[in-house]
């Protein structure tokens, strides 16, 4: 909602210190020109503030993550600060001690950034592809399910339970994701399941 100045577009291009600005009109044009010259060497710094959900628990507090740097330029982007989101109805700007330390979690050297695999008999983790990790998990789950699936209980009733593998889902999921997760996990017969949807 700009102020509508008649002939503004025309005057706006003739530079500072003209009658097209408040300072010029009031006779402060020289001050304005000098100021405009003085600020020329300065640069703009760009930051972003991004809403997200705390990664830790099922309370799912809203957080605001501050980051610096311009993704489109050569400057390196980095998260510089995290605080509770005051507009979020769950936590209204507050965070628990774990949430308040999220910045260190983001920058932690030991943070898991990609799938890691420790081979049987090996003493160290090595980086693997998502395809490898997912295939491996699926194979192991299938093997475990084939070996330990309980189709009927002692009374001969059909129960279709798979009790030897558990599933832990994330806190920041939407209702829809939680619904899909539930359907997948339960239809496999898994009973040890925490969707973090319990609060």
């Amino acid at each position: 909602m700009n102020m509508q100045l008649s002939r503004r577009a025309f005057l706006g291009r003739t530079g500072a210190g003209i009658a097209g600005t408040a300072l010029g009109a009031l006779g402060f044009g020289e001050v304005e020109s000098a100021y405009a010259q003085a600020v020329r060497p300065f640069k703009l710094a760009r930051t972003t503030e991004t809403r997200n959900t705390c990664t830790y628990c099922s309370v799912a507090c809203g957080i605001i993550m501050y980051s610096m740097g311009d993704g489109s330029k050569n400057a390196k982007s980095a998260v510089i600060h995290i605080e509770g989101d005051p507009d979020h109805p769950v936590n209204r700007g507050t965070l628990c001690p774990k949430g308040a330390a999220l910045l260190d979690y983001v920058h932690s050297e030991t943070r898991l950034k990609y799938p890691m695999y420790r081979k049987p008999g090996s003493d160290k983790f090595e980086r693997v592809t998502w395809d490898f990790a997912l295939d491996r998990i699926a194979q192991l789950m299938k093997a475990d399910r084939d070996a330990n699936f309980i189709e009927k209980n002692n009374d001969g009733q059909t129960v279709n339970r798979w009790t030897t593998t558990g599933f832990l889902a994330a806190s920041a999921t939407t209702n829809e994701t939680a619904f899909a997760t539930y359907k997948v996990v339960r239809s496999a017969g898994m009973v040890v399941f925490d969707n973090q949807a319990r609060v």
Binding site: M1, Q4, L5, T21, A22, G24, A25, L26, L44, T47
Partner: protein
Amino acid sequence: MAKGGNPLHDSVPIGEEAKPPFAILPDPASLFAARAARFRALADGHELGPYLLFLAGIADIQNALIGGLPAVAPPTADALARAASFGMPPLDRNAFVFDETYKATFAKLLAAAGKLDMPQAAREALDRLAAADDARREELARSMLADSAEVEFLADHIFVAAALQVHLARMAATLDADKLVEIGPGACPSCGGPPVSSMVVGWQGSHGSRFCVCAHCATKWNYVRIKCTLCGETKGIEYHEVDGSGGAVKAETCASCGGYVKAMQQIKHPDVDPVADDVASLALDILMREEGRRRGAVNPFLFGY
């Protein structure tokens, strides 16, 4: 012993909960005094010092007017009820009444401004206004209230704007803050006016919340952060500040409408004033203009940016 019935939850104090009121009405008795003090503090060592001191003088005059003026006529009960039923702001700027109170406000402001130190151009504008009849004075007031100004008489408009700031702040102060409702993005719940800037505040009970400040009546209204104050878009919001400026004033830039409005970080710099710091951070506007960004805020003291 625990009582029966619904479980009671003890709230664990893990920080300041933000439960901001929707709207905060201006307090004319302190509004302009604080602004004058802030203009003076900012003027110290500032390249725009002479202009900031001039505006400090204007704010002093605005402050001195409060108390010595006839009472403002608040909107009638009918007007309030009609505004409420249509979701409109209770102060209708289009229905501005050029009454004795406003005439007295303007006349006293002109008389007091005559004693200020000012450049010749400003002095000429003041003389023009002193010679203007009521019809011209009303015309100027109406065009200011409609957010438009004649470029040939910008200086005249600035004095009119100063008088209207006093008048509308006094009008807004008569309203009931609890009855104000959200009008829309970029619209003051008291008078429908545009924001001059917004402030992320550190007040008790509103810690970290953001309030937009009306350019006309100085009503503050709670507004979700990281959301364009002009068009209400939440995607593509960025913050620009002058590198090394300390981050007290950031331009909240919207990729959707291409505009920006400054967000003052009152939470970090408790003295910031939504109007004074807007003027003093003109460097940001100059740099933003070079990037082709559009200033969306309205501040008569920065006409033309």
